[in-house]
Amino acid sequence: MPKIAIDSVEYEVPEGRTILQVLDDLGLLGNGVEVPHYCWHPKLSVDGSCRLCQVEIEGVPKLQIACNTPVANGMKVHTKSDRVIAARRGVMELLLINHPLDCPICDQAGECKLQDHAFDWGVPAARTTEPRRPAKKAVDLGPTIVFDQERCILCRRCVRFCREIPKTGELGVVNRGDESLLELFPGSELDNPYSMNVADICPVGALTTRDFRFKIRVWFTDDVESVCNQCSRGCNILASRSNNKVYRFLPRRNDAVNDTWICDHGRMSYKKNSTGRLTAPRADGREASYTDAVKRAGELVRAALDAKGKIVGVASPFASNADLAAFRDLLAALGAGPARFSVPRGESDAILIEAEKAPNAAGCRALGMVESNEQLGRADLALVLGHTLTAEVFGDVRNIVLIDTHESALSARATVALPARTFLEKSGAFTNSRGLVQSFSAVVEPTIEAWSESDALAQIAAAAGIA
């Protein structure tokens, strides 16, 4: 492995990588070593056009771009020399002659790379008095993305994203020189299942999502690590929250799962936390307090046990491993067979989206649960977590105790229905399609009385007098 020195500190680095990749591999980028960059993105091809990442290499007369210079044994790189800083200042000054200084009204303020780097390397006062380039405002590129052209610094990250990840190629740069413009391919619009990632990778406020735009200033939010629950990929996400509310999901980098992307469907699923929820407990068709509903559920369990009736368990591939394990243990204590579960299925693609539309089918399988969509048949009591089976499957079941997050045909039919916390309202872990166990932590508090499935099960067991 080649040895290189960065600012006189030696590192052993993998071969065949560029300086910027190596810094990224070592976790040094923005974390001890500062090599500002716009066009480079760890998951896209190298463009080498913004020219911000220039570094000085001993023995090489000209400054070189770190994003396209392969490391070589003995290379001595300087990222803080006067020449490097002067070059950065030059790039920043040139970028700012046409970029509007509208940070106060720009939705990217607070997470804009131009703002950040201007703070570090910018000129104190503009030396140009020329009018800035006129451009189109708030252009809809498609159903999800809005484009403010005057802020675009032509890094072409969005262009490369569309060409290289979804491979749809909706975007391109037309014209030359300072008339270069980001444009849609004639007759197309930016509408692919991953379109909203372009807003994440746009280093400035040129591309924003229609969903999040002008909702809240990012400095009022904080980001909590979580895992998307919309398919078995388990993309790593950040949930931006403020005032006990989730405002958006962002991809969180995990090279083993989702690189740095998420699909639009997963991104927008944050809304599911606040819509269609099962908000109040019900018992025998009437709203009840949580305590009363738990009591009624306990009675049903006790009665079924005493009558040596048949008890079946139905698990949910949306439940966390801890909740599933608690369910398995309770069913064992009740002398019931292993829980069954069913996974909703849909389309998959070669990028991220998996056919299994639930985050924890692998967890269900690992805990010995049995996958089935068959009729449950005759039973005295079904204990049900979640909502992945249609109500018809329960045709011959006398009583249903349901612990669930959302309203469904089944919640209307259940003898007892107890609201559960969504994954955003509790901590836990999912096992994804590749067997990776990924934990998540609570992002918000529930606004209704709701418990995790394991807590609700424990309460029911106690009410039924089971140790």
């Binding site: 190298v46 463009d47 080498g48 056009s49 913004c50 020219r51 911000l52 220039q54 000209k62 400054l63 771009i65 396209n68 392969p70 070059a87 030059g90 790039v91 000054e93 040139l94 970028l95 002659i97 046409n98 030396r127 140009t128 020329e130 610094i153 032509l154 740069v173 014209n175 030359r176 020189g177 300072d178 008339e179 270069s180």
Partner: protein, 424 residues
């Protein structure tokens, strides 16, 4: 002035295969085919031939960068884009001496093991394109191209004439490759270099039209003969294209190192007995020389000592009537318009420089604007994907270096003090 390259220019039969052979054509190729490819590369190296496309890189050395193995097809790309304003030599060579170019290409293909050559010609050069196409067709007709080129078993060379669409940046070698592949003409970052990953991803060598045209003569008449012309570091002749305020603009084939005064003399000197104001020695991107430099030998090693370059040998002459601020405005307009727009420094810098020139030219500028005009080109130089940003910065720096008075006069008088200068 004629010399070996242009000896038969004007004789129309020289553009036909029969006429070319009657004048001794293909003697160089025959001598090349009698040697190994490695030997041919060594001869070109020993000749000291430097590329005539503007950068002056050693041709033999460039040829030696090509991979020696034959795992992948190797490609020669011939740069006939000739997009540097002030240059028109390649056009003349293509129109008058097409077989010289083709012979040079075939020798290059033999030396580098190339199986295909693309001649990329500026789209506006319709006559050059027709002439080259006719010449290529004649060679195919005589079965001297394609399978067993010139009867040599295992030497299979195809030549394709490709018409560009007229963009300066498509003359830059990697911008040209993108354009050749049917994409937007914008230079590629390096590495990878063309010798590893060039046209269509294949190992590629790009050389200028004139560069190839010299090669047959070197092979035929020998390294010593070639080196007896020109200077030690820049052997051979070149076609100086003299334009602007001279009595007889035109092309003159002269040895490299010919003093500028003599080059101008061949063009009849400055028109109407006026005084010389400045000369751009190698096309629009090369810094201007003041009249005090008239004795400079026209070869890179001497010109670079004076802060300029030989470029393409397109000598642009300006007499005393010319306003150098106007020149700067026109030059900066050209570069602003032709920048491909990828690199921050070039995209933003060329436009800024042009706006400043315009402002000064119109007499609306302040001292601060003039200070900026000296500064902004410095931000652009030496930091971009291709040398275009340098090419845009240099002429402005040259004009300011030698003609600062003109700029200051505009600030002082708040108008152009040269009423007889060309119109904008």
């Amino acid at each position: 002035m004629k010399n070996y390259l242009s000896e038969h220019y004007g004789d129309d039969s020289f553009q036909t295969l029969a006429g070319y052979e009657a004048k001794g054509g293909f003697a160089g190729l025959r001598k090349a085919l009698a040697q190994t490819p490695e030997q041919v590369v060594e001869i070109v190296k020993a000749s000291g031939l430097r590329g005539r496309g503007g950068a002056g890189f050693a041709t033999g050395l460039k040829w030696s960068f090509m991979p020696k193995t034959n795992e992948r097809m190797k490609v020669i790309v011939v740069n006939g884009d000739e997009s540097e304003p002030g240059s028109f030599k390649d056009r003349m060579i293509m129109e008058r001496g097409p077989f010289e170019v083709l012979e040079g290409i075939i020798i290059g293909a033999w030396a580098m093991g190339a199986q295909r050559a693309y001649i990329y010609v500026r789209g506006e050069y319709t006559r050059a394109i027709r002439t080259l196409e006719a010449a290529v067709k004649e060679l195919y007709g005589k079965k001297r191209l394609g399978k067993s080129t010139f009867g040599v078993k295992g030497f299979d060379l195809d030549i394709v004439v490709h018409s560009g669409a007229g963009a300066y940046i498509c003359g830059e070698e990697t911008g040209l490759l993108e354009s050749l592949e049917g994409k937007k003409g914008q230079p590629r970052k390096k590495p990878p270099f063309p010798a590893q990953h060039g046209a269509f991803g294949l190992p590629t060598t790009v050389n200028n039209i004139e560069t190839f045209a010299h090669v047959p003569f070197i092979l035929d008449r020998g390294v010593e003969w070639f080196k007896s012309r020109g200077t030690e570091k820049s052997p051979g002749t070149t076609l100086f294209g003299v334009s602007g305020h001279v009595e007889r603009p035109g092309l003159f084939e002269l040895p490299l190192g010919t003093p500028l005064r003599e080059v101008l003399g061949h063009a009849g000197g400055v028109r109407g007995g006026r005084r010389l104001k400045g000369v751009m020695p190698g096309g629009l991107s090369m810094p201007v020389l003041p009249p005090s430099e008239l004795e400079v030998p026209m070869a890179e090693e001497f010109l670079s000592q004076r802060g300029t370059h030989l470029g393409t040998g397109g000598v642009m002459v300006m007499d005393e009537s010319v306003c150098m601020v106007r020149v700067a405005t026109v030059v900066s307009y050209f570069f602003r318009d032709e920048s491909c727009g990828q690199c921050t420094q070039c995209r933003e810098g060329t436009a800024w420089v042009h706006k400043l020139c315009q402002k000064i030219e119109r007499g609306r500028a302040s001292d601060a604007d003039l200070a900026l005009l000296s500064d902004v080109p410095k931000l652009m130089e030496g930091q971009t994907i291709c040398a275009f940003a340098d090419a845009a910065a240099w002429p402005i720096q040259g004009l300011l270096r030698h003609f600062r008075d003109d700029f200051e006069a505009h600030l002082r008088e708040q108008k152009c003090p040269f009423p007889e200068s060309f119109e904008l």
